[in-house]
Each structure stands twice: as structure tokens, then as C-alpha cells.
Amino acid sequence: MSDISLSARSALATVAIPGRHGAAGTPGVMLAELRGLALASLAGRGENIGALTAAVEREFGVALPSRPSRAAQGTAAFVWSGHNQWLAIGEASGDLVRRLAACAGDLGYVTDLTGSRTIMRISGPRARDGLMKLLPIDLDEAAFGVGSAASTVAAHMPVHVWQTDEAPAYEIAVPRSYGPSLFRSLSAAFAEYGFSVTA
């Protein structure tokens, strides 16, 4: 009998070396992987999602967005990912998936996606300029702000990106198997500004 607990390991374990990279001087971009998250997909059943929306609001205090954007309360966030579809994000310790499945009940489909994405937080004065190189969407303040989200591609990889802070700060999610490739593309894009990777 093995009573050993398995520990988690990031897809970026060998590529995201903590420290300063790229051009010298004050780093223009900060990059950090978000660990310890629980993820789930939530899809409405049929077209009447009013009841589902109400249930989620009661349980998490979040109104499910009806257009590409992110709504959050405390440690729970819901990011629009398609027609009547959302990516739910929470802390692993916060029992997100069970609570979501319970409150959704017959009103929606819930699938546990924990660990399926590599998610990175990108912030700093040059974060927008760097992401412009990879993302074919308008990131200007006039078009994309705190709460905006988009499902798009970055260097031929499917990504989900949203803005969490005006400074700016963004979070970008990619399927876990693409993690190292996305990290390398981001590193190349940020190199001219100098960037720092935090563990």
C-alpha cells in the first residue's frame, strides 16, 4: 500500500527559469505562472440559461458574462468561452468543481478541467506592447480593458486571455501541452523590454 501523496509539477518546470531575462535595465514585463488553480468548464443546457445564471450567482456571487469578458468575486472567476459556455477558475483548495456541479445540477454541464491549462500572469509597463506582437486583437485601452476577455490564437496556439488590472495586467491560458512553446514565444516577444520571471 502506498500512502505517498503525489505532488504536482508544472509544464514550465524546466523552461520558466526565475530571474531576469532579455534586455538589461528595469524589466518592462513581469511573468508568473499561476499555480494551484481549479478549472472547470460550464455549459448551459438549451437556450434558457436564466436559472443557471441565478444558481451560479447565489453560490459564487458572480453574474455569468453574456459576452467575451471575465466576471469575478473573491477567488472565483468565470470567463466567457463561447455561446453559453464559460471557463470557471478558482483555488484548488476551494472545492470549486464540486460546488459548481452541485449548484448547476441539471441546469448545466460541468466538466472538471483542473490542470488542463498553463496559465500565466503578464504585467508591467510594456506588457501590452509585448502581447501585441502575439495576439491579433486590439489591446488598446479604447478596445480592451479590465474585465475584457478573448478566445484567440498566439503563435498558432489556441489561447484564452483576459485583463485583470489597468496597469496593465493580463492572464493568458493555453492547453498545458503547449505551455513551453507559449512561454518561449512570450520570452521572444518580451526580450527587447527586459522581463522577469517569478516562481
Binding site: T111, G115, E192
Partner: protein
Amino acid sequence: MTQALAASEGRRTLQPSRLAAGGLIERESVLPFTFDGRSYQGYRGDTLASALLANGVTLVGRSFKYHRPRGILSAGPEEPNALVELRTGARREPNTRATVAELYAGLAAASQNRWPSLAFDMMSVNGLAGPLFSAGFYYKTFMWPASFWEKVYEPLIRRAAGLGRAAHEADPDTYERSHLFCDVLIVGGGVAGLAAALVASRSGARVVLCEQDFLLGGQVLSGNDEIGGKSAPAWVKDAVGELEAARRVRVLKRTTVFGLFDHGVCGAVERVSDHLEAPAPHTVRQRYWKIVARRIVLAAGAIERPIVFPGNDRPGIMMAGAVRSYVERFAVLPGRRAVVFTTNDSGYATARALKRAGAEIAAVVDCRPKPAQQGIERAADLPIFHGGTVTATHGRLRLRKVEFIDGDGHKHHVDADLLAMAGGWDPAVHLTCHLGSKPQWSDETGAFVPGRLPPGLAVVGAAAGRFTTAGALADGQQAGNEAARDCGYAASTGMASTVDAGGGAGNGAPFWYLGDTAKKCFVDFQNDVTAADIALAAREGYRSVEHVKRYTTLGMATDQGKNSGVNGLALLAEVTNRTIAETGTTTYRPPFTPVAIGAIAGHERGKEFRPSRYTPTHDWAAERGAVFVEVGQWYRAQWYPRRGETDWLESVNREAMAVRTAVGVCDVSTLGKIEVTGPDSGRFLDLVYANAMSGLKVGRVRYGVMLREDGHVFDDGTVARLAPDRFFLTTTTAHAEAVLRHFEFCHQVLAPSLDVSFVDVTDRWAQLAIAGPKSRELLGKLLGDTFDLSSERFPYLSVSQLTVCGVPARLYRISFSGELGYELGVPADFADALIRRLEELGGPLGLTPYGTEAMTVLRVEKGFAASGELNGQTTARDLGLADLMSTKKEYIGRAMLGRPALIDPDRPILVSFAPVDRSAPLMAGSHFLDLGAPASIENDQGYMTSVVYSPTLGHYLGLGFLKRGRERIGTRVRAYDPVRNRDVEVEVWPACRYDPSGGRARV
């Protein structure tokens, strides 16, 4: 005044043709450079061309076909002659226009297309054979004898063909792409573009201004206009200052907008570091911008048109506007004694500029008859000859003498080392044509002007056929305001008007004089196309402008007809008795000027060409020394060599035998995984799978086959039922995305009423195959008492959800190897820890990691189909799976799989093959022939799809499709591979060669 030439003391005067004062160059920054190995000096702000001219260098190249001596023709990106090889070593680049190459300290350039030297080029003998090399000569020569083509003609032509040498080393520089969104994009930073940018910026719009030059200002940098009471360059400086300080404006210098695409998208290339010896650390060499604009203002200016006359290509014959640019902007005198040949008022500005700089004007030859003036002052001391034309020029390596006749027919000849041609102006309309419309000929303007405009694009200034500075200023302001208003911003206030000082504005229709032989009247300088070539093409029946272009190669050089197109089609119009409008133009396509492939590729070179996908145990496998193979984007461990193993087959055999006799572990996470939920999940799966799924019990797994609508097999995998309304299924690695798309299509289009949902969980679950007679024992050590692995409680084809070492997991009892086996799924982050734990526990049992090669050996021995057999051309019946097809339900593909050709008894079906000579290898891809039958398509009996060396059987083993294969079991056929010279006799066996009853997996 010009500096005096050095006396013959043996020392060259530095920059003998540089004017002592004036210009927009930085005289404090002296930059040394070399050309053809000789050292020279220039200043920051020079181009290579202006620096060469300042140093008195006028011979810079040899023409492509005839190897005629050539000099600098222009001062812009349209340059056809001054193509040099820039830099050395890995950064060497051919065919660089000296007129746009910015000078930097240490620049090394060399002329091209000459041997042994520029001054003495052996290949100029081509010029003597001119008549043989007229238009279309390659369609008429090198035809006979046919055998000479490969051995003689082609090698000769290859050696003579091409222009310039590329570097052979890898490019040491990096490039990148970026996106840029804006309200108003302005193409061109001359007066018109700057005016548009200023008003748009003041209205609050997001503005992007692109200028290909390193200085903004355009034409006024070469003149002496005044705008709003200050010199034009000072006005430009203020405008640029305001724009660069504006928060919502981005000014991109050294940036060429090379193409207009749909939906307001433009492609542009920024030459970030071309003007430096090497890019700064972490800085790219060039950047490709994809600019998405709501409105575009095209202010790209106009290109001056040469004049066609005998001997119009010698070094020292230049465009008049370019001469003015060299004098005013670069403070260079391109010649001491000049003839100006003009068809319009522009030439006079050049004559005056030259005179002011100290050159002597030998003649101004104006092809127009003595005119009634329209407000252009003529200096009384210019020797003007109206109604005249240049008739001949002399000088081999440099212009020496010009012959012309005047309006009265009197012949003149003058000494001259510079001839400035002013043939009119052609608006740079190219971007307006990239979406398919053609420009329109305007008799009034004497040029092609934009035709039907793409939506959201406005054209201003010289690009629209308005050639005055005042016109540019007015146009720019109006267009800038309209664009800003269209984007929802309020128009802003106007600006100062211009005072035109100097700068003749004029235009005229193309003019030529061919003399008694049109042979040496050049139309396309770079491709050596003469007026005679055009006439010849028309005589031979090539009358369409498209045919003339290809037949003569007019307009096909790197300048893409910028200096030749209009003259060429005007000549064609005349010889074919049509108007210019009737003759039309060829099609302008992107890129406007050449774009380096590296800029478009950006970061995606070498390994980064496309993204890679890594399995959850990749790092562990790399530590174990795995050899990886690329399967699409995935890196998969192919085998794990051990120390001492000399050959991959040794490793693979060991791994396969370990699975057959002990236990092995293989990462199979790359398979597509889809979770299907909802009350109608079973019904949905019944629709997409050929075999029944809705009856599958909770806790059970089934092999499933999916067909295409046309009855062929699309994909296969396993389907596990976790709950009444939840299934988990796998697909092949290659088809993961395609299957999900297929599901979405089936649900949304074919069965929208079904209450079902699917999620791609490929990256959520790591999946490890644990296979071999000792696999149960190993799992028992891992799971302890928490799970009953006995065959009674967990029989073959079961699935269960459980917790393994604290993490949620799914255990499947399925076998691709044919041995007792399982697949264990855990969330991907925990796979690394899990496989290391299995290694610890499995050591004493002989646990062996195995890769894709061993996995293939095992499944081929079992006759299981995989990608090689699921090639899109096979049916379930071909694969021996006909019994799986349900007869009780509708499913995709059912109707079509009954077509006669798909149930023909003669169709090749899946069997296995062994070489008669047990030591012989087999090749996948071989085709089967009856023994003794000639090798022909008619006798083709089928083909081999997968081959392995089988350590179990001790010989090579193949799977393949053979006509009436089942009836032929026990007989022999020939496996024929003419591509790799193999011809092997093989025995036909049933597909499954190992444990046909399947008992080993069921223990």
C-alpha cells in the same frame, strides 16, 4: 561652390563632389565605408548612393542581360540600376538598392553582375550579341538538340542567370511580427501625409503614420518651398515633433507599407536595424507589422518617369528629381556640366538647383514647342531649346557627350557629364490596386491615377495626381479630417497654407525619340528591355500588355516596372494603334518593394517554426535518455536506449519483450480525449459511432469505430461509460481536433435537439499504459487494498474512478499490446510524480518504459489497426471489423458503406505478411503482386501499411491490404518496392499473429 579636385599629388580629395554647405546631412559624423574594396567617407544622413556620388563614383553596376555599365538613376526605392551586394559574411545581402541603404560606419558594399571587375566586365560581350538576345530569345533558342538541354544549356544558363549572391550561412539576426490597430493609417510622410496625420491626431483619433525613408518630409526635402512662413524642412520638423509627442500617434519611420489586404489590413515592414552595423542586443533586424485600420490615407507620392531615347542608360544619366534631391538634401553635385532633358516644368527646378550649386548648364532640352507660359519663371541665363529632343549620348563608363536637335531641326552636341531626365510623374497608385482594381489613364494629368478605390481608402497629393505642395497640404488636411470624422471624432482646425518657392509642378504624357534604330533605347533598365523589344513583341503577335510583359520581361525586375511600365505600354499603344487607356496596365500586386522572408517568418524559424506539444512525462523521459519523435506537433518518446545498446532495434526489441514477459509503462497522453455529458450522450454516440454505444453499461469500455459520411473509416478509439450521462472517449492522436469539430458539426447541424455537450479534455488527463503479465501486480503495489484488481471484480474492458496517492484518477482495463494491461489516467500535473512512483515500485518487477516503436511492434503482432491502416481509404470491412457495424441503428456512414465498390469481394483486406526468407526485411509501402506476374498497375494486388521486426516471432512482420486476402492465407505473394529496390517473397497470414484468441489480455 564645389571643392576643387585634388591636383595630381597622388592623393584623392575626400568627397570631391560634396558641396561645402547645405543639405540635411550631419557633417560632424564622418562615416568610413568601402565599395568594391576601396575606402571612402560619407556623413550620417547619406544613403550609400549619395555618398558614392559625393566621392565621384558614378559607375555602380552592370546591367542584367547586356552587362552595360550603369550608374545611379534615382534617389528612391524605385532604383533599377544601383543594386549592390551589401555587407559580408552571414549578413551579406544581394540586390540592395544603394539609394535606400543608409550609410553607417564600416559599411561594406560591392557591385554585382560583373567579372572580373566593374570597369572591365568580360560578360559585356553579351552586348555584341544583342540581336540574338532580343525579346523572347529563350523561347527560340536552346531547343535543339533536345539532349543538350540537361547537359549543356541548363548548366550554362544557370551560371549566367540570376542577379546577386545570397549568403550561405544562417542569418544571425532575429525578426518579429506585431499587430497594430488604429483609426487612421497614413501611408507616406511627405507634406500630404503629415498634414493628414496632424489634423487626425488633433481630433483625438488613433493615428499611425508610416514612412519608408529615415527622414519625413518627402519631396520638400529636395526643394526650397516655404510653408507657413518657414522653410519646408522646418515645418516638417515641427510637424514631426508634434506627432511624436502625441499620445495616440505612432510614427513608424523606415517602414514600407508593402500591401493592402482585405478589411483594412495592411502589411508593413519596419527596417529596425538595417542602418546599423548590427542590431542592438535583444533587438530585431526587421519587424513585420500587420496594421488594421478603420480608414487609410494613401499619401505615397509619385515616381518620376524616364525618357526613352538612344543611349539613355549611361552612368551620369539620372532622373531630374533625383538630381535635385542629391543637390539639396545630400549636398552632392552629381555632375559638373549638365544637360536637362524635360517634357514638363519639373526639369527647370533641377536646372536652377544645379546652377545654384555651381554646375554649368550646357542645355535645357524641352520637348514642348515654345510655349505660352503659365506662371513658371524661366531664368534668362538658361540655354533653353524648345521643341527639341536628345538624339544620342556618348561615353562608355561615364557620360561624356550629348547630341540633340532643337525645334528647328538644328543638330547640337555638347560635352556633359550629367543628363537629368524629367519625363513626367507617375502617381504611386499601387496600393489602390492590390484588391483588384486597375488605375485609370488621365489625359489631363498625363499619367495613370487611382481608379475605383477600395472602401475606406482615400488618396491625396501626388499619389492622386496633384503635384503641388499647396495641393498636398490641402488634400492631406481634408482627408485627415474626413477619416477622423468617419471614425467618430470631431474635425480639427486647419493649418497654414503654403508659399511655393521654386518646385515646378507639372506633368506630361510619355515622350520618346527612337531615332533610326530603336535598339539602344532602354525602357526597362534592370532587365535591359528596349523599345525595339516591345515593337518585336507586337510584331510577333504579343499585343496584350500582359503578354508583352512576360515575353519581353518588361516590368518583371526588382523594381517591378516602376521606371518602365508607363513608357512601355505607351510605346505598345503606339505600335498597336491604340490609346494608352485602351492598352491598360498589368496588375500591381504586393509587395510594393521586396520584403525579406525573414521578416514575415519572424520568430517562427527552426524549431520554432510551429508550436510543439509535450506530454506530461516529457521531462522525466528526457532524463531517462528517451529518443523523441515528432508526431504532428507532439514530441513522443520513441524508445529509451540503455547504456551499452548500440542500435535502436536492440532497444525496441528489449522494450517489446519486457511488455510480453514482465511489465512496461508507456505515456499515451497524446491521444485525443473527449468528455461527453448530458442525458442524450448515448444517443449522440450512437449517431457518430458505427457500433452501438447507448447500451454500454456504466463501468464498461468498448472499442469504437467512427465513419465518414462516405462510409470510410474516419477514426477509432475507446469509449468508457462513467455514468448514465457521462462518457469518456479517446481518439487517435492525429485526429483529436478533427473529431471534436466533427462532433460539434453533428450536434449543431445534424442533431441540434439532442441534450448533450462535449469538452476536449486531452490536456486535463495524463494517460499511462501499464501492460504485461505483471501489470496487475504493479498496480496492486500502487493501489494497495483500496482497489480490487481481480478479474472477477475488474474484468477486461472495465473502467473505474478512484483515488490514487491522493489524486482523482481513472483506471481502464484495456490493452493495445494484447497482454494483460491497463491505462491509468491522472490529472496532467501529477503524471511526473506518478511515473516516478511506478518506477520505484516496479523496479523489482522489471518495469520497463517503452516508446512508440515498441508500442507499434506489439500492436502489429496483434493485427490492430492504427494510422497506417486508417488512411482514409479503408472501410471497416477492409479492416476485418464488419461484425462491429450495428444493424439496428442509424449512424453516420451507414448508407454509403453499402455501395458496390465498398463491398466488392475483390477489395484488398487486412492480413499480415512474413518474409519467406526469415532474415529478409520488409518495407511498408511495398505493393503486392502474384508470383510470376509482371510488375504493372493492372496486376497490383494491394499494399503493405505497417512493418515491424517482431522479437516474438523472430522475423519481420507486416500488416497490409491484399485482394481476397482471407482466401489467400497460407499462400505466397511478392512484396514489390521499386523505389527502394526491394522485391521479397512473403507468406500471407491472418492479421493477428499473436494470441489470436485474445486470452492473454483477459487473464
